[in-house]
């Protein structure tokens, strides 16, 4: 019996007895190492944020992860400050209203561009898509000028209006409506539904995973939005949470422990959204082939 045959029969025996372990792939070790390093880079800021929120100011710049004297005083302080609750509510109102509006209009426009054949359809689609190429920083000035002239400064509407409909969402929904067979829509047309009813009662339920993914993306985007709410509001009572947290830094000092505590509290809704809808987020990212 040759060496090779002995090896093969030994492997067979180990397979039968369940003691066989396939040889480690060296590339897999490399992949896991890279994955671990990536995870550390992603998770460490969050861990440090939580850690810092439980530290006293004098311990803030020490790199220990576990605080020497852990405290929840920062949380008590932030939560007892009425402004924090106001900012939290502002963020919630703006994120929810923007999400509802963007999902509605993105789906409506995406459906129209996908399922109706009309002159200029392609040009409109390209025009909407091309807005994706313009960075937010460049749009801030025209948005501000509009807000100034229409009297939208220091209003909820002023904070929300740029996000009430999104090019990304329109593109995403158009792609998803492509997967809805026309037979469904034609059957409904024969059954006597008008075009809006067909969209609402037939097409929309068929793209629920896409709607969920889009809603999550938009909610998270608006919840963490900083630049535009900072520019359009000067009244502290209208601040959103990310903007409000910056008030913890004053000229002479930055209250990092309070900023970290506020940030940790601000993460809670996003964590809830993520935990409840994570399968939709993953599916949405996978389906759209886009980064979340």
């Amino acid at each position: 019996m040759s060496d090779a045959e002995i090896k093969v029969s030994a492997e067979g025996l180990m397979r039968q007895t369940g003691t066989y372990k396939p040889p480690r792939d060296p590339m897999q070790i490399v992949r896991w190492t890279l994955l671990f390093m990536g995870a550390v880079v992603m998770v460490m800021p969050l861990v440090y944020m939580l850690s810092a929120s439980m530290k006293y100011p004098h311990e803030m710049f020490e790199m220990n992860i576990i605080p020497r004297e852990p405290t929840f005083e920062n949380y008590a302080l932030v939560l007892s400050d009425g402004r924090f609750l106001q900012w939290f509510v502002n963020s919630l109102i703006i994120a929810i209203a923007t999400t509802v509006s963007a999902v509605f209009f993105d789906a409506l426009v995406g459906y129209t561009l996908c399922k109706f054949d009309f002159r200029g359809r392609y040009i409109i689609f390209i025009a909407i898509l091309s807005t994706l190429m313009i960075p937010t920083e460049m749009l801030v000035l025209p948005w501000y000028m509009m807000s100034l002239h229409f009297g939208w400064l220091d209003t909820y509407w002023g904070i929300m209006f740029p996000g009430l409909m999104t090019a990304f969402g329109t593109f995403l929904m158009k792609q998803f409506f492509e997967t809805v067979p026309d037979d469904f829509l034609e059957a409904a047309r024969i059954d006597g539904l008008n075009e809006f009813q067909i969209w609402w009662s037939v097409a929309m339920p068929l793209v629920t995973p896409a709607l969920s993914a889009l809603a999550i993306f938009i909610f998270l985007g608006n919840w963490t939005a900083f630049i535009w709410p900072l520019i359009v509001t000067t009244d502290q009572s209208l601040y959103t949470l990310p903007v409000g947290l910056t008030t913890f830094s004053v000229e002479q000092s930055v209250q990092w422990e309070l900023i970290m505590t506020g940030a940790a509290l601000a993460t809670i809704p996003t964590l809830i959204v993520f935990l409840v809808f994570q399968r939709y987020i993953i599916r949405g990212v996978a389906m759209a082939g886009l980064k979340g």
């Binding site: 059957a187 047309r189 024969i190 006597g192 339920p205």
Partner: protein
Amino acid sequence: MATVTLRNLVKAYGSTEVLHAINLDVANGEFVVLVGPSGCGKSTTLRMIAGLEEVSAGEILIDDKVVNHLEPKQRNIAMVFQNYAIYPHLTVRKNIGFGLRTAKMSKADKDRRIEEVAAILSMTDYLERKPSQLSGGQRQRVAIGRAMVRDPTVFLFDEPLSNLDAQLRTQMRLEIKKLHQRVGNTIIFVTHDQVEAMTMADRIVIMKDGHIQQIGTPAEGFHKPANTFVAQFIGAPSMNMLDARWHGKRLHMAGEEMSVDLSLPEQSALTVGIRPDDLLVSDAPGVFSGTINVLEPLGAETLVYVDIGNGQEVIAKASGRQPPALGARVNLSLDPANMHLFDQTGKAIA
């Protein structure tokens, strides 16, 4: 119930005409099947009747009223689609009742109507199920139920059985036919399957390249095909086609000649069509003789592919119990009355 009339119906996409002046009269309560190969225009015709495609020229009349510019919902028709088009997010009850959403009926009346339709289709026990929990045949029944619930004047079926397996297709074919006998509505049914057309229709409309080739009963399509296309399309296996010449009061084909009572100009070129059912393997001398190339046992009978010389092969039928041997030399007999003669343009010679 209603009549449907198509008058010089044309469909064009840009400068490309795909349906050329179609004329058809469907009687009240009639079951008409549009049949033809892919791309012949049968589905387009149906979709135009439904109002899902615009009419380029001509008229569509339902109950003698021109409906060209009416919305689908105003035509009082119902359509069953190839892919069922039942909504996956709704239960069977809601799917069947979908067509009643816009009807001015009380909820109790709607529920009663849904129950009635479900009972007709034997779907009462499945009313609370979602389509994903149903078999292909049950889904098709739901689609039919949704069409029935509004009590439309005309039913349109667009290849509704093509996604079903062979056994289920036969079963559903029978169910649709029974349903028609029971409710008696006018039905226009599209299929590419000539067996479906033959078994279900009161009349079949055979189409090719946007033209109607023949309108008639299934028996007429089979026994009196209007042209070579119909002759070959209707019937399985396909009709044997042989080139022939009329010369000296005799018909010459495949190296053989036979005496037939015909009044044709001398030296006329013809095509002779012979159904495999009419070409019988026999021991006695026949019209042709040749060698068996292929045998296809079908149980009750055996299809025999016979090389009759000159590079020509014909299909004949032999007994299923005692089929001839592969490679054997056989005689093929034929009753000349069962021959179909076509001129050089492919038209049947009366």
